[in-house]
């Protein structure tokens, strides 16, 4: 997750991958004042297969003076941990990617300032870049960070506990948290035994609701996510007379999923499909309780069986997860939102059972009685706005799935055949959105061809 938050930073700065140690590149020349003075420290490519790296530990702390050739940070690649050294002298002004977090190769992980005077500026730069450090309060930038004299070895412990007269006692974990969230412990009032500063005190000061988790790194990531959305509304102008209605749980879930979907590189492929045969079949089986949704779900499921990659999921950005079941989620609009009941094993059930199952699911959805596995186990989603007369649209890929199909209305359309003869046929436009990390254009095209063949020769659907 942490790596995702950096994706924006990367795409804007076009990483170039040098095979060896440490990338330090002068900042873009758009700001001439700081040219070549403030440098970004980049995630190095430690091996040819490395695409991202985890910061194992920062050997240096913020404010430390670095000299050329000194080890600054330890990076874990897919193969080993390596000490990474700097090519420039300077002061480590800011750490952008904290210990335990991951960043793609080429992303800025820290900021190096040439002189003390530039530290504040570098910090501002870091704050702008780092979406993962929302807790860093801007007022702190006013005070220049203490710069350790060159001879002094960086001892994190000593730095964290200054021997001040009005002695402040903080527990080890509290100190760690304070360092991480840039909280000045000496300004806190401890609530622990003997007036000591506890981890909870630091979290409160940093504006974090205490997470029950022991794992510091993990606790920090959700906090960052939770903190980022509220930032956006602040920039909107207030229009008088507007009313604020908070999201329902379902709406909040939709919002969360939609935001999450932004992290997935998607693309879309459309296809026109003649539906005369399907319409004819539908007329025949309608009386037996079969719905168009069931027909489409069945057709999609049968096509997915032949194209398992379209039914797959990319969970970690590194691998394909091939799902053994074909579970078709179908978007259902509700009064206050949207839910996607799932037709499990849609490829295995026959059309009539599928229709029956669908009816049950819709009823349950209306009564808000769907069990989690009945709406979150989908491997492929179907969304049909055709009944509203929509002729084409574009769906957002739900997290955890590889593809979603948007089905438009079937309309009489003038089509020309190979010989150039015009006819009028019923045709619908189908548009599939897919995760390009695992599903490529040709995969989708082949899948749509199969789907079209099934829809245009729908006899197999009833078998």
């Amino acid at each position: 997750m942490a790596s995702l938050s950096f994706s924006s930073a990367v795409s804007s700065s076009t990483p170039f991958l040098r095979p060896s140690a440490f990338l330090l590149r002068p900042r873009s020349t758009r700001l001439p004042l700081v040219r070549a003075k403030i440098r970004e420290i980049f995630m190095p490519a430690l091996s040819s297969t490395m695409t991202e790296g985890k910061i194992v530990s920062w050997v240096k702390s913020e404010g430390d003076v670095l000299s050329k050739g000194e080890a600054v940070v330890v990076v874990e690649s897919d193969k080993a941990d390596m000490d990474v050294e700097t090519f420039y002298d300077g002061i480590l002004a800011a750490i952008v990617v904290n210990e335990g977090e991951t960043a793609p190769v080429g992303a800025a992980i820290g900021i190096l300032a040439e002189t003390e005077g530039e530290i504040a500026e570098a910090k501002a730069k870091a704050a702008a870049q780092s979406s993962s450090a929302p807790a860093a309060p801007p007022p702190e930038v006013e005070k220049p960070a203490p710069v350790a004299p060159k001879a002094e070895a960086p001892a994190p412990v000593a730095a964290a506990s200054p021997a001040t007269p009005g002695k402040v006692v903080a527990t080890p974990f509290a100190k760690k948290l304070a360092k991480q969230h840039k909280v000045d412990i000496s300004e806190l009032v401890g609530t622990g035994p003997f007036g000591r500063v506890t981890p909870e005190d630091v979290e409160k000061a940093a504006g974090i609701t205490p997470a029950p988790k022991a794992n510091v790194v993990v606790a920090a990531a959700p906090a960052a996510l939770a903190a980022s959305p509220p930032k956006a509304p602040a920039s909107y102008p207030d229009i008088p007379g507007s009313k604020i209605v908070p999201f329902t749980t379902m709406q909040a879930a939709v919002s969360r999923n939609m935001l999450e979907s932004l992290a997935v590189p998607t693309f879309r492929v459309g296809y026109p499909i003649a539906t005369d045969a399907l319409d004819a079949l539908y007329k025949k089986v309608k009386s037996k309780g079969v719905t168009m949704t069931a027909l489409l779900a069945k057709a999609a499921a049968m096509a997915l069986v032949q194209h398992p990659v379209v039914n797959a999921t990319c969970k970690d950005g590194k691998s394909f997860t091939y799902n053994s079941n074909v579970n078709i989620a179908v978007a259902v609009a509700m009064d206050d939102g949207l839910i996607t009941p799932v037709l499990q094993d849609a490829d295995k059930l026959d059309l009539y059972l599928l229709s029956k199952k669908w009816k049950e699911l819709v009823e349950k959805a209306r009564a808000k009685q769907l069990q989690p596995q009945e709406y979150n186990s989908g491997t492929f989603t179907l969304s049909n706005l055709g009944m509203f007369g929509v002729d084409r649209f574009d769906a957002i890929l739900p997290p955890g799935q590889g593809a979603i199909m948007a089905v438009g209305a079937s309309k009489p359309t003038v089509v020309a055949d190979k010989e150039g003869f015009f006819t009028v046929k019923n045709q619908m436009l189908v548009n599939v959105t897919a995760d390009h990390r695992i599903i490529y254009g040709a995969d989708l095209a082949a899948f749509l061809q199969t789907f079209t063949k099934i829809v245009q020769n729908p006899e197999s659907l009833t078998m």
Binding site: E99, V169, T171, P172, F173, K176, R196
Partner: protein, 570 residues
């Protein structure tokens, strides 16, 4: 191996003195565990093929001894009108190992114990601490939501019952103590209760130190009295808020914040236990870095995994000059002074302090003055055969000292190995234990283990003796079994001589490292070279493949000892 077998067939006479043997014996002679020349002086690839194996000499005696033991049991002393052939003072793991081996060798054996059978290891050391670490390992796993999720497991908040955890440790200790006692009783070792005191050569008394003491004689005596936690002066141990490992293992309370003075393996293991149970830990270390004594690279990695992400901080280069237990509504106070300048630095206020600064030999009241032996900082001086040296630098005949009391290597299994070595000597087989083949382990999560030299030690030695040192490393990240367990964190490191393939040291940090080290320690003990061991097969997929890969990745330049693989017409 081949040559070793031919030896036992061709030369039936038992090996007596290694000095004699090395001049006359065939070159294929093997003595188990005797350090070869790489660690002695004047190395040459040729001489190094003189390998030692007790294997053979032992197998010759084995049948005979089995018969003897069966006939005599632990019945009559074999010679010279002594009450016993062998009397061991102290029934810890060292004394126990020696006693069992002595009976196997047909010696009439007694063991004197003034406290409880099992000594430190079983009652106040390795054994109960493993019980606590077993708990901490599981707690750690259950609390790590990320780890559980990656398995697809859902676990609700894990908790523990302190008393039951403590009971588990205590029950384990009594069970092992029972096993130890029974194993000695079954073999007929006389267990004599009381404190043993040496009265003179081959003569000692045991009892409570009053008129009821009994005097016995023995052909040979082994001192195996072990050690107690070392408490530096200025530290007031009250057993409640300022404690040693003896108290900590009872787990009478789990403080919110505990300072651990000393960051060696005892301190490190306790930090693992306490942080898993929810405490925050502060290390106080006199040296410049925590975890001294480990190979620096392993120590660095261990610090990244075992210290940095946990609720632990540390003060290095400082002594705890004064520690006052919590009282009168005040927390525990620890006064720190700079280790070099001795200037006061600061005072820590914590809920508890654990003193893990090491162990001091327990040798008082042994009657060493009766035979003119002076202890050095409490340790009994011995030579490489564990023979006690008196104040004039002369060997005291028939008196040996093993285990923590001699301070050579303060590990339970080292004591036992020393005891067995002594029994070998008193039954006529010269034997020198190779301490560099004794593995050591720290049972944190994940574990750390090592055998032989660290990299700096090996480099220093290489510098002195003029050979080359190479390093090979493998990662647990590439091991299938480790990945299946979601425990890819870790590395194994091999320090070796590229010229002859000798293993100088192996260090492992990772899942089950303590169990993995023995392939390396056995190889060192047997003198197996990398070029030979690399052909050994390891089951797939197992963690042992980490070592397999380690040996295979070593680059031995084998120009000297080429073997003819196939018959070649010449």
């Amino acid at each position: 191996m081949h040559s070793a077998i031919s030896l036992s067939l061709s030369s039936p006479s038992p090996i007596t003195r290694s000095s004699a043997a090395s001049s006359t014996a065939p070159r294929s002679l093997r003595f188990c565990g005797l350090r070869r020349e790489a660690f002695g002086a004047g190395a040459s690839p040729d001489a190094s093929s003189l390998r030692l194996a007790r294997f053979n000499s032992r197998s010759q005696h084995f049948n005979l001894n089995g018969v003897l033991a069966a006939l005599k049991g632990n019945g009559a002393p074999s010679s010279g009108g002594f009450d016993y052939d062998l009397v061991i003072i102290g029934a810890g793991v060292g004394g126990h190992g020696a006693a069992l081996h002595a009976v196997e060798k047909g010696l009439k054996t007694a063991i004197i114990e003034g406290d409880v059978v099992g000594g430190t290891c079983v009652n106040r050391g390795c054994v109960p601490s493993k019980a606590l670490l077993a708990v901490s390992g599981r707690m750690r796993e259950l609390q790590n939501e990320q780890h559980m999720k990656s398995f697809g497991l859902q676990v609700a908040a894990a908790g523990y019952d302190r008393q039951k955890v403590a009971d588990h440790a205590n029950n384990l200790a009594s069970k092992i103590r029972g096993n130890l006692t029974n194993s000695m009783k079954a073999l007929g070792v006389d267990i004599l209760t009381g404190f043993g005191t040496i009265l003179g050569p081959q003569k000692l008394k045991f009892g409570k130190g009053d008129s009821g003491d009994k005097i016995i004689t023995a052909k040979d005596i082994i001192v195996a009295t072990g050690s107690v936690p070392l408490v530096p002066k200025g530290i007031e141990v009250d057993g409640k808020t300022v404690i040693t490992s003896d108290h900590a293992l009872k787990l009478e309370f789990v403080p919110q914040w505990i300072a651990i003075v000393g960051s060696g393996y005892i301190g490190l293991e306790f930090s693992d236990v306490y942080t898993a149970l929810g405490s925050e830990v502060t290390f106080v270390e006199a040296l410049d870095q925590i975890m001294p004594g480990f190979d620096p690279e392993i120590g660095k990695l261990a610090q990244r995994v075992l210290v940095n992400p946990r609720k632990i901080d540390s003060y290095t280069g400082v002594f705890a000059s004064k520690i006052t237990p919590a009282k009168d509504g005040k927390p525990v106070q620890i006064e720190l002074i700079d280790a070099k300048t001795k200037e006061p630095k600061e005072t820590l206020e914590v809920d508890a302090a654990l003193i893990a600064t090491g162990r001091a030999p327990f040798t008082k009241g042994l009657g060493l003055e009766n035979i003119n032996v002076q202890t050095q900082r409490g340790f009994v001086p011995v030579d490489e055969r564990m023979r006690v040296i008196d104040a004039n630098g002369k060997l005291v005949p028939h008196l040996y000292c093993i285990g923590d009391a001699n301070g050579k290597m303060m590990l339970a299994h080292a004591a036992s190995a020393q005891g067995i070595s002594v029994v070998e000597q008193v039954t006529g087989n010269d034997h020198v234990l190779n301490h560099l083949s004794i593995p050591a382990a720290c049972f944190t999560h994940p574990e750390i283990s090592m055998v032989g030299l660290t990299e700096p030690q090996a480099r220093e030695k290489a510098e002195k003796e003029g050979f080359e040192v190479s390093i090979a490393k493998t990662s647990f990240k590439a091991n299938t079994k480790a990945l299946a367990e979601n425990e890819g964190e870790g590395m194994a490191k091999l320090i070796y001589r590229p010229d002859n393939g000798e293993i100088l040291g192996v260090h492992i940090f990772g899942l089950h490292a303590a169990d993995l080290i023995h392939e390396a320690s056995n190889a060192i003990a047997m003198g197996t070279r990398i070029q030979d061991i690399k052909f050994a097969v390891h089951a797939h997929p197992t963690l042992s493949e980490v070592l397999d890969e380690l040996f295979k990745s070593a680059k031995v330049k084998l120009s000297a000892s080429k073997t003819v693989a196939e018959p070649v017409p010449v």
